[in-house]
């Protein structure tokens, strides 16, 4: 088992005051809280910080930890010395709420599991035989939200083994994707969460839906956007063009005198929620390349005929 340097994790000196430790924890907790943070490893870091704080904020545990000596290095192979905690009396309670189940073997070898599982203010300590609700993020295609249908989803979850420790398991579920679902919404699957204790029912499984990035559609809530390249003459003179949508191609009339960046709305062609979202076509004026002499000549003609100053608004 690896030694954990709780002072290093918290970024404080070994002689830091309790106030300094608390301040360091608050700062790190805000930075890595999984509800707030966008850091990719936020959850792991938050647990690590919670574990360090659990030890350092409690003068009893901190003193016991300090007893191990300052010569240990983070990551070094560690085995607690026999009777290392003799004479220390630990009092439970006052849990940081960082999620005890994620504490490391290192923590457990020093302070035991009993500590970790007791004293949390929230739900877990209440006597309740129902299984825990679990949560997973799933990636689906935007098209699934348009048409609905079933998808095979592979989920990883941890299960308590017969040795009383969590093990990572994988399972595949065949899940109905309801038509009209949007990014960030949750599908609740009854009794597919954590197993109950004793005769208790299993908890529910919540699947948070996220769309796989699409090469040309972009989703915002229930509205879908498409950047549509148009030729300068199509924008200037108006045109009827074919436009792809997730529910199939449609004919779109581009009004004469359209500018780049202007949005055309296809009402109700967004995600078929209740009520359905809209589909927006954002015009992008594509400039034809001037590679041949004929193309260059055409551009010169253009220039002569139009007397156009694109920077007029800038006063130059």
């Amino acid at each position: 088992m690896e030694f954990k340097d709780y002072y290093k994790i918290m970024g404080v000196k070994r002689d830091a005051t309790q106030d300094e430790i608390k301040r360091a924890y608050r700062k790190l907790a805000r930075k890595y809280h999984p509800d707030v943070s966008k850091e990719p490893d936020a959850e792991a870091r938050f647990k690590e910080v919670g574990e360090a704080y659990e030890v350092l904020k409690d003068p009893e545990k901190r003193a016991a930890y300090d007893q191990l000596g300052a010569n240990w290095k983070a990551g070094q192979e560690f085995r607690p010395p026999p009777d290392w905690d003799q004479g220390f009396e630990f009092h439970g309670g006052g849990f940081t709420g960082a999620g005890a189940e994620g504490f490391s073997d290192f923590f457990e070898s020093l302070f035991g599991r009993g500590f970790a599982w007791s004293g949390r203010g929230g739900g877990r300590t209440e006597f309740n035989a129902r299984g825990e609700d679990t949560y997973a993020k799933v990636l689906i295609d935007l098209e699934d939200a348009y048409h609905g249908g079933s998808r095979m989803l592979t989920l990883k979850h941890s299960e308590l083994g017969s040795d009383g420790r969590p093990h990572i398991k994988e399972r595949t579920l065949n899940v109905h994707i309801p038509k009209g679902i949007r990014q960030g919404q949750h599908i609740r699957l009854a009794r597919q969460g954590g197993s109950g204790i004793g005769k208790g029912e299993a908890g529910d499984l919540y699947l948070e839906v996220e769309f796989r990035a699409h090469p040309f559609y972009h989703v915002e809530g229930k509205d879908v956007f498409l950047d549509l390249p148009v030729a300068p003459w199509e924008a200037a003179l108006g045109a009827k063009v074919k436009v792809p949508t997730p529910s199939g191609p449609v004919d779109l009339k581009i009004p004469p005198g359209s500018r780049g960046g202007c949005k055309l709305r296809l009402k109700g062609k967004g995600i078929p929620a209740r009520p359905p979202g809209d589909f927006y076509v954002v015009l992008q004026i594509a400039v034809p390349p001037a590679k041949t002499d004929a193309a260059k000549a055409a551009y010169r003609e253009f220039e002569k005929a139009l007397k156009f100053n694109p920077r007029e608004r800038l006063g130059v």
Binding site: R26, A29, R30, H33, D35, V36, F46, G50, T96, G97, A98, G121, G122, G123, R124, E126, N128, D133, S150, R171, T172, L173, N174, V175, H176, P178, G180, I181, R182, Q183, G184, Q185, H186, I187, R188, L189, A190, Q192, D204, Y206, L207, H218, V219, E220, G221, F225, D227, A273, R274
Partner: protein, 104 residues
């Protein structure tokens, strides 16, 4: 759970199909009713119905309540602060989505 592999699981969309009573919300979030009533008073979750016995919460309340409680517990902020954080986080999420579209 071997039979799950073939069986088609149909769920509800929490944000659309699910409505909860006060008791159901407390059960789903594993909190006593007093806590939920506090959150209602702060406007963090907004049930329809006249009084607690008739309250009906939208499914998304499950997430708002859990998130608020986690923020309170882990960051040591009070309910008003957690409510503010929740609103700001939702706004950031909306803005991030828009930013992703515009930055392509």
């Amino acid at each position: 759970m071997a039979n799950d592999i073939l069986a088609l699981l149909t769920g509800e969309v929490l944000e659309e199909d699910v409505e909860l009573t006060l008791a159901e919300l407390c059960y789903a979030c594993q909190v006593p009713a007093e806590r939920v009533i506090e959150l209602v008073q702060e406007g963090i979750v907004e049930p329809s119905g006249q009084n607690p016995a008739h309250w009906r919460f939208r499914g998304v309340s499950v997430y708002r309540v859990r998130r608020t409680l986690r923020l309170q517990q882990d960051l040591g902020i009070n309910i008003a602060g957690a409510a503010l954080a929740l609103d700001l986080l939702e706004e950031i999420q909306t803005l991030r989505m828009r930013l992703r579209r515009l930055e392509r």
